[in-house]
């Protein structure tokens, strides 16, 4: 009689099975070819949902321009990494860099991380009585999300907002209920500005939140903030724009209060990239970057490529696409509320893509057959 719930368990079991086996939808271990052939696409990829709007735009434009069809499944960063490890896709995409353990688990050898755009995470809140955006410092944001600051008229908040009448409302913290790259970036920022946060709850795609409600997805968090006076949460910049939410000005490492915006995020990426060594693997965090006009909660989102490609034809298509995305493709970023890479960094990355190793003549003839 209680078959319904058994069915749920069935579904869970089925989901697990496919996940453990790397979601191999007809992918053979020998190469990535079968998956793409089945879908009629030239290249297949899977991974992060956050850059999906701009990736979709890119793949569409690029198919018109170069005639190369790319099929991308926005199944989440974790899923993208798993599929890349199992070689069921030609490239992966992730909002958090792969860990060393994950790199070691990749069956196709070393993985290149190529940043594509800069994501911006805004701290959004709902206080209709405020005429201008509230100012927050890193330690105040940490205090709020740790549950140490519980009222909007807390003296610590008033101290950085002189002349502003803050309401006495309770603060309601809203966070993501599911694991997400947005949470990773936000907690990365809090860990870098607050030692207490770093100790607990720390940095990750999913945390043990000291306070607050979990809402599903950026849209769920936005809806909850919009509905509840006194709510505060973190969402990707695009959701602030779409939902007309108020977002806090955050104090950057130079002491200035900066609004979340594409230009401020690009500035942050530029400052961070300037410090990177020439042989960087780009698995780096760019939160709380130096610079007067940088916004502190920003992050790269990465394409994940095998350094040693097994199919020369695909390798060329992939490298050509990535080069295009790093140059012409960057122009699409601001319209979709993510920040373009700084030009200097894009040039460095383009050179890096050239280092993709294509297979020898034998492999080429094998794939031609």
């Amino acid at each position: 009689m209680v078959r319904w719930s058994v069915l749920i368990a069935l579904a869970a079991a089925a989901a697990c099975g496919s996940n453990n086996s790397g979601a191999g939808s007809g992918g053979s271990a020998s190469g990535g070819a079968p998956a793409s052939r089945a879908t009629g696409a030239d290249l297949t990829g899977a991974g992060a949902t956050f850059p999906n709007p701009i990736y979709s735009r890119w793949f569409d434009e690029y198919s018109h321009k170069a005639g190369v069809k790319i099929n991308y499944q926005p199944i989440g960063s974790g899923g993208g990494i798993k599929q890349l490890q199992e070689q069921t896709v030609d490239f992966g995409a992730s909002d958090a860099p792969m860990t060393d353990a994950e790199m070691a688990g990749a069956k196709g050898g070393p993985v290149l991380h190529v940043p594509t755009v800069v994501g911006v995470v805004a701290v959004a809140y709902n206080l209709p009585s405020l005429a201008q955006p509230i100012k927050l410092t890193g330690s105040l944001v940490a205090g709020i999300f740790q549950g140490q600051i519980t009222k909007w008229n807390d003296t610590r908040l008033a101290a950085v907002n002189p002349g502003v009448t803050l309401p006495s409302a309770d603060i309601l913290v809203v966070h993501r209920s599911e694991a997400s790259g947005t949470t990773y970036v936000f907690s990365d920022y809090l860990s870098s500005v607050s030692a207490a946060w770093k100790a607990s709850p720390g940095k990750g795609k999913e945390l043990q939140w000291p306070v607050g409600l979990g809402a599903k997805g950026n849209d769920g968090v936005s809806a909850q903030i919009k509905q509840t006076i006194g709510a505060i949460g973190y969402v990707e910049l695009a959701y602030v724009t779409q939902n007309h939410l108020a977002s806090a000005l955050l104090q950057n490492s130079a002491g200035n209060f900066v609004a979340p915006a594409a230009s401020a995020a690009t500035a942050a990426a530029e400052a961070a990239a300037a410090k990177l060594p020439a042989n960087s693997d780009y698995r780096v965090s760019i939160v709380d970057s130096p610079g007067a006009q940088t916004y502190p909660i920003t992050s790269f989102t990465w394409l994940l490529l095998y350094k040693n490609q097994t199919d020369a034809v695909k390798a060329k298509k992939l490298a050509d696409f990535v080069r295009w995305a790093l140059t012409d493709g960057q122009r699409d970023a601001p319209a979709l509320d993510c920040a373009p890479l700084p030009a200097t960094l894009a040039a460095r990355l383009t050179a890096r893509v050239d280092s993709l190793a294509t297979p020898g003549a034998r492999a080429t003839t094998a794939s031609a057959r």
């Binding site: 899923g79 309601l172 720390g202 940095k203 999913e206 909850q224």
Partner: protein
């Protein structure tokens, strides 16, 4: 399913018993009969085998978490993917509380609907009203969830929660303490109640209609009012069927995922307050599975799935026992 698979097994034994040669001949005469019998047996066996395989898979996949945390997995509240500590007590608690809350709200409503439709409603109303109640079951869960976020939760926060807290002065009791943000155990229970109502009412209506006419006439002949007739003669007669319907609803509530996830607040914490956010086992799996990368995290989610499996089995057993018991005590 056990009946279906047992019957052919029993008949297979008959040819070997002496004196049943004729029966064997009759059975053996047609190859088609034998093929038919084996095919249906195979079909009947597939389901229990599949169930066992799935149960085995879920437990095996969850075993690393159960080995690491022991039974403490179901009694501790820590859920910290960063440090790799997992305890499913809040989810277990939330699953049971939200489902029971849903039953408490839905059962009287559903029985009321069913009694009205089977006893009081004019003939012209029965079909359309029944149809609309049944239609509630056809609405996709995610639509309930969206409606929950956009309509139900704001309504609960603006009217129902203040009513309990302030008008009834229950804010001082632990059950309605704390701030009323909206997404909460209460919201989860209410949305589940709406979702399981059609199941309970459909089953109840069928059993009420099946109550013999003589039962009603006898009660009326003894001078019972219409109310007394329904309360004393019809409902007790249908009791075991109604309990069956309630248990069907409970089963649905235990496993419901999407709508609950969207309104319950998704917080790994046990709180006595119905206004506080909670979590359910199905919601945890739905929320975290896609992005769970560490093996222990995945194993913990599978262990939650295994726990849900056990909870449903226990509920099923209790349900069968209740139906059997009340069925035995049915007035003759």
């Amino acid at each position: 399913m056990s009946d279906a698979s047992a019957a052919p097994a029993a008949s297979r034994l008959t040819p070997s018993t002496s004196g049943a040669h004729r029966a064997a001949n009759i059975e053996g005469r047609s190859a088609g009969d034998r093929i038919y019998r084996w095919t249906t047996t195979a079909f009947a066996m597939v389901v229990p085998i599949l169930l066992c395989v799935i149960a085995w898979e879920v437990f095996a996949a969850g075993w690393p978490a159960l080995r690491q945390f022991g039974l403490g997995f179901f009694t501790t509240s820590d859920w910290d993917p960063v440090k790799g500590n997992f305890g499913a007590a809040p989810a277990l608690f939330g699953t049971i509380v939200s489902s029971l809350l849903a039953l408490v709200i839905a059962t009287p409503l559903a029985i009321g609907v069913a009694v009205f439709l089977s006893e009081f409603a004019p003939r012209a109303m029965r079909q359309p009203v029944g149809f609309f109640v049944d239609l509630l079951a056809a609405i996709p869960s995610v639509v309930y969830g969206l409606w929950g976020i956009l309509v139900l939760v704001p309504f609960l926060r603006a009217h129902v929660m203040p009513f309990f807290k302030d008008t009834l002065h229950l804010g001082a009791t632990p059950f309605f303490s704390g701030p009323a943000y909206g997404p909460s155990m209460l919201a989860g229970g209410v949305i589940l109640a709406i979702m399981i109502l059609p199941y309970i009412s459909a089953v109840t209506r069928e059993v009420l209609v099946a109550v013999p006419r003589s039962q009603r006439e006898a009660a009326l002949a003894l001078g019972a009012t219409r109310w007394e007739m329904i309360w004393d003669a019809v409902l007790p007669f249908a009791r075991s069927g109604i309990i069956g319907g309630v248990i069907l609803g409970l089963g649905r509530a235990l496993g419901e995922t999407m709508a609950v996830t969207m309104v319950i607040g998704n917080r790994h914490e046990i709180s006595a307050s119905l206004l506080a956010p909670g979590y359910t086992m199905a919601s945890v799996i739905a929320n975290e599975f896609a992005e769970a990368t560490s093996d222990l995290h995945v194993a913990s989610l599978m262990a939650v799935g295994a726990g849900l499996f056990v909870v449903t089995i226990i509920v099923n057993v209790i349900a069968r026992w209740l139906v059997w018991r009340t069925g035995g005590a049915r007035p003759a």
